[in-house]
Symmetry: C2
Subunit: 305 residues, 2 copies
C-alpha cells in the first residue's frame, strides 16, 4: 500500500548544545516521508519556493519518494523555521518563523495520488488539512499531527478535522494544553469524546502512549545517550508508524503496537544527528536490531503473587 | 526472607486539588513498610515523638509490621512535613518541614533485626544511612532512596553511602540534578561509575527505568486516571520492589524486572487516595489484576522488517 503525506517542507536553522546549522532541509512532511520510505511507497504533497535547492529535490527522489505533488511556487520563498534547544533539549524555542509559501499554500492532490490507502496529514494549518480531506476518497487510515500554534489560534478548525481522522498524533504538553488537564489519560479520554478514533501521545524521552476506546498501549522510551537534535522526532515517529501500517496493511491492535515501536525506532535514530543526516545513512539491519532492543529492554514475565 | 526498613515516620499536612488533610500518617519508612508487608515480614526502624498517636502504632502492628525498632523519643515531637501539589501534581511544594526527633535521631538496629537479608534505607540523612550500614552484617541486598535536600546539602555523605549499597532509587529530576546532566541514560551511567551497582529512576507518571552495568529495563507508566495524592508514591514503589525481592529471594535480571513492576503496581494504588488509605483496603487479587494489566498494555510482538 502507498502512503500520501501532506505537510511542510522547510529550511531550518537550528542550534543545539551540539552544534549550529543554517538552512538545512527539514519540515514535517520531509521527516515523515524519509522515515516512511523504509517501509512503503511515499507520495509527497507540499509547497516550496524558488529558493529551494534542487539538490534537496534530488535527495527526496533518490529516497524513492514520489515528488510529483511538490509544488514549486514561482516568486515564492520556502517556509523557514529558526530555533534553538537549551541544555534540556525537550523544549524547542522558536527564534523566527517565516511561513512564506505556506501562507498561501492551496494543497492540490495530483489525480495519480488520489488512490493512496494511507494518508498522513503532517503538522500544518488544520484549514489546509480539511482541504486535503475534501479532495481524497475515503482511505483505509488517516492520521494527523498538530501543534500548539494551531491549538491556540485555530481551535475551531482543529475540532473539525479531528472528527474526520482516525488517529491524532500529539505531544504530551500539547495534549495537556488542548484538553486543559495535566492528566494524560484523562486528556486522551476527552479527546476521544471529540470524535477521533485513537490518539498517540508522543512523550519524547518518555516514550509514547496509545489510547482508543477499547485499547491502551504504553511504548517504552529508548535510552538515548546519543542525542544531538530533537527536530523532526515526532515527524519521523509518524512516518515510521504510518509507513509500517501501509506496508503491512494490518490495522489489528497487535500490529498498531508494532507500528508504534517502529515509529519509536525511527525517532530514536533521527535525533542522533542533525536534519536527515542519520536517516540518510540508516540501514535496514540497524532498524531490526533496534526493534529487538526495544523488546529486550521492556519485556517482563508474568508473576505469581 | 525479611526486610529491614529504616526511614522517616511523619505526620503530614497535605493539600492537593482533591482535598486537604492535616496531620495524617506518612513518612518514607511507613509507606515503604505498608507496601512491602504484602510480600514479606517487615522490620521497621524509625523514631517518633511523644505526640505520635498510639492508633498509628496499632495500625502498623495490625499490618504485621515488626515495630520493635520504632523508638519513641521522650519529650520529642514527630517529624512533620507540610506541603501542597498544584494542578499538575508531579511537583511537591514544601510549606514547612519540622525535623523534630529526626534532627537528633541516632538509629539503633535491635539485635533481633540484624539478620535481615534485605535492607531498604528509605529517604533519610545519608549520615544516618551510613550509621545503619555500620551496624548490620552484609545482607543479600541493600537499596537506598534519597532526595534533593541531601544532594544539595550532604553531597559528600551521599557519595559515601552510594558506594556501599547495591541499588539507588532516585527520581528523574533529582538524578539530573545530582549528575548535572538532563540526559537520564547519561546520568545513570555517571552514577554507576560512582560505585553503585544499579539505579532505578522513578519518573512518576512516565514509569521507571533500571540501569546496571549490563542491563537496562524500561517499566511502563500506568494510565492513572484516579490520582488524588502523589505523596509516598516513590516509597510505596520501593516497598513493593524490595518486598517482592525479599519474598522471592531471587536477584536474577528477570526477577528484578518483575519486582520493578510490582513496585509500580503498589505506587499506582497508593496515589489513588490520601495517606495509606488505599493500601489499607488493598486486596491481593487487585494487585494480581493490575500486574496483569501492566503486562497487557505494554507487551508487543516481534516483527519481520
Amino acid at each position: 500500500m502507498s502512503l500520501l503525506i501532506i505537510g511542510s517542507v522547510a529550511l531550518d536553522s537550528i542550534q543545539t548544545p551540539f552544534g549550529e546549522k543554517k538552512d538545512i532541509l527539514g519540515g514535517s512532511a520531509v521527516y515523515a516521508s524519509v522515515a516512511a520510505r523504509f517501509y512503503c511507497p511515499v507520495k509527497l504533497v507540499a509547497a516550496v519556493g524558488e529558493d529551494f535547492p534542487e539538490e534537496h529535490v534530488r535527495f527526496l527522489e533518490g529516497q524513492k519518494i514520489d515528488v510529483r505533488g511538490l509544488q514549486r511556487i514561482h516568486g515564492g520563498k520556502t517556509f523557514r523555521w529558526s530555533g534553538y534547544y537549551e541544555y534540556d533539549m525537550n523544549q524547542a524555542h522558536t527564534r523566527d518563523t517565516k511561513l512564506n509559501v505556506l501562507g498561501s499554500f492551496d494543497p492540490k492532490i495530483p489525480p495519480e495520488f488520489l488512490d493512496a490507502e494511507f494518508v498522513f496529514l503532517a503538522n500544518l494549518d488544520p484549514a489546509l488539512q480539511l482541504k486535503v480531506l475534501a479532495q481524497i476518497k475515503r482511505p483505509k487510515l488517516v492520521a494527523m499531527d498538530t501543534m500548539n500554534f494551531w491549538i491556540e489560534n485555530r481551535r475551531e478548525d482543529l475540532h473539525k478535522v479531528i472528527k474526520k481522522v482516525d488517529i491524532l498524533l500529539i505531544n504530551d504538553a500539547e495534549l495537556r494544553q488542548f484538553m486543559e488537564t495535566p492528566n494524560l489519560p484523562v486528556a486522551a479520554r476527552r479527546l476521544l469524546e471529540l470524535g477521533v478514533k485513537a490518539v498517540i501521545v508522543k512523550k519524547g524521552e518518555h516514550g509514547a502512549l496509545y489510547f482508543s476506546h477499547d485499547e491502551h498501549f504504553s511504548a517504552p522510551s529508548f535510552p538515548q545517550a546519543q542525542f544531538r537534535d530533537p527536530t523532526g522526532a515526532g515527524d519521523s515517529f509518524a512516518g515510521g508508524f504510518m509507513g509500517y501500517l501501509a506496508k503491512t496493511d494490518d490495522l489489528s491492535h497487535a500490529n498498531i503496537r508494532r507500528a508504534i515501536i517502529v515509529g519509536s525506532v525511527m525517532a530514536s535514530f533521527n535525533v542522533e544527528d542533525f536534519s536527515l543526516d542519520r536517516l540518510k545513512r540508516l540501514q535496514a539491519h540497524e532498524i531490526a536490531e533496534r526493534f529487538a532492543e526495544f523488546k529486550r529492554f521492556s519485556h517482563f514475565d508474568a508473576v505469581e503473587l
